[in-house]
């Protein structure tokens, strides 16, 4: 009897999860190098409407996260010496995130002045790594630092960490060295398309409302049946 209630609830939850993803994209509209994610709906399990029947009925919708919103943001000139951006898609800087090698498209770096030299670090203080796996030294605005530049077989399969960092995973494949050099004095904007996100938000909001309506109707049906014996 209550199957309809649960279908409505599953649909509403899926819409809510999709809204969360959209909201996250919108919140990061100004985050340098941010890659947006997409909500991907799919239908859930089908089962018999009652025992012994061949008739199948669904049980609502679920939502998954797709990393495949492969829209890299535009690059813009900042003029700041420690800003770097790639003009190609699927290119990453390597950083030393507390002992593990992580990858980022955010080229908004800072200097860490130490006795051995001026090292480039990310906003979180992680050292930027060169092609040899050593920390990258900054030798003045005229010389492009010896960055390690990497690409991935399947960029969408990267595992996402906080702070715009990614880890190579089995799905993305190991990092492969790339020849391209970043441009100094430029940064990459977030790849968030505001129009698209606002449209998605409206779609998911209406979806949520309709599914809550289904819950309400299912509840009213149950009430009708309950009041049969008046």
């Amino acid at each position: 009897m209550n199957r309809n209630l649960y279908i409505g609830a599953a649909g509403a939850q899926a819409a809510q999860a999709a809204l969360d993803i959209t909201a996250h994209n919108l919140a990061n509209v100004s985050t340098v190098g941010y890659r947006p994610r997409k909500a991907e709906f799919s239908s859930l399990l089908y089962s018999n409407v009652h025992a012994g029947s061949d008739t199948m009925a669904g049980s609502g919708a679920g939502v998954g996260v797709s990393e495949s919103a492969d829209k890299d943001g535009a690059i813009r000139q900042t003029g700041r010496a420690l800003d770097y951006a790639f003009t190609e898609e699927n290119r990453y800087f390597a950083v030393d995130a507390d002992g593990t090698v992580a990858y980022t498209r955010n080229g908004d770096f800072k200097l860490s002045a130490e006795e051995e030299g001026d090292y480039l670090v990310t906003a979180a203080g992680y050292y930027v790594l060169g092609a040899d796996g050593e920390r990258v030294v900054f030798e003045g605005a005229d010389a492009l630092p010896a960055f390690g530049v990497y690409r991935f077989r399947n960029e969408d399969g990267l595992e996402r960490l906080d702070g715009g960092l990614f880890l190579a995973s089995e799905i993305s494949g190991a990092a492969e060295a790339a020849e391209d050099r970043p441009k100094a004095g430029w940064l990459q904007d977030a790849g968030v398309d505001l129009t698209e996100e606002m449209l998605d938000m409206l779609r998911f909001q209406r979806g949520f409302q309709m599914n809550t309506k289904v819950i309400q109707i299912a509840d009213e049906l149950a009430q009708t049946v309950n009041s049969l014996r008046g």
Binding site: I7, G11, F41, S42, D156, G157, I217
Partner: protein, 241 residues
């Protein structure tokens, strides 16, 4: 007393119809999802006979209506260009083939990803088949697709997406966007669109209208049931001493 069962089966059938409508609404944003509906049919037809010295047949009646089958409405959904390399859609007829642990399944949802071995995959369902009957393995998401679904990775052909034609009446949804179906045959000239997704063909207005109409019908049946009960209780009073 047959009226009780008729009316009760009406209640149950309306409820089952709402199940399909709810599922349509929940999947209004699911790519490749096709509208479903429950068809109702009468069940257990009986001959009604006049008894007495000259028995004769006066008609047929049935004891109840039941949810008879789930119909899948195979109309085309809107094709939305997403610009993403692993998104595919089919214009017109046809299904992508999915290799699942349970065997060959079919889908209209072209929202694919790559699995850890580099195979083209429908998440939660299985690997996507090429025309040779083997799963396609592009290995990278930097692919090019030429007309009719031939996939090139780094310039080399990986294979061609298989598009099957199936018996439309044999389609049974199996969740995660896949169907079982019989009579599958490879299509010769499929219209495969790259970087495109087919949206669901669910119309929100239609489904909400259907939900409301089901609600009212169920209320009417409930009312009839109450009246019937009233009549029965009157006839119970006749014999009272």
């Amino acid at each position: 007393m047959t009226g009780f069962y008729k009316l009760a089966s009406g209640l149950i059938t309306q409820n089952r119809r709402l199940t399909a409508v709810s599922n349509n609404i929940a999947n209004a944003n699911t790519p490749g999802y096709k509208k479903e509906s429950i068809s109702a049919a009468t069940f257990g037809n009986l001959l009604v006979q006049r008894t007495g010295s000259e028995p004769m047949v006066i008609g047929q009646t049935s004891l109840m209506t039941v949810a008879d089958g789930l119909d899948v409405h195979m109309t085309q959904g809107i094709l939305e260009q997403t610009g993403q390399n692993l998104h595919f859609a089919i214009g017109g007829e046809g299904f992508f083939g999915v290799q699942t642990p349970q065997g060959l399944r079919f889908t209209r949802s072209g929202s694919f990803t790559l699995d850890e071995e580099g195979y083209l995959t429908l998440p939660g369902a299985g690997r996507i088949l090429g025309t040779g009957g083997e799963p396609l393995r592009p290995g990278t998401d930097e692919i090019e697709v030429t007309g009719q679904g031939v996939i090139l990775a780094a310039g080399y052909p990986v294979g061609q997406l298989a598009v099957y034609q199936v018996e439309p009446d044999s389609l049974v949804p199996a969740g995660n966007g896949v169907y079982t179906a019989g009579g599958a045959q490879l299509m010769m000239n499929p219209d495969v669109r790259w970087q495109t997704l087919e949206l669901s063909n669910v119309s929100a207005v239609e489904e909400m209208t259907a939900a409301l109409s089901i609600q009212r019908q169920l209320q009417s049946v409930a009312q009839a049931l109450r009246i019937y009960d009233g009549v029965q209780s009157k006839s119970n009073e006749i014999g009272k001493l």
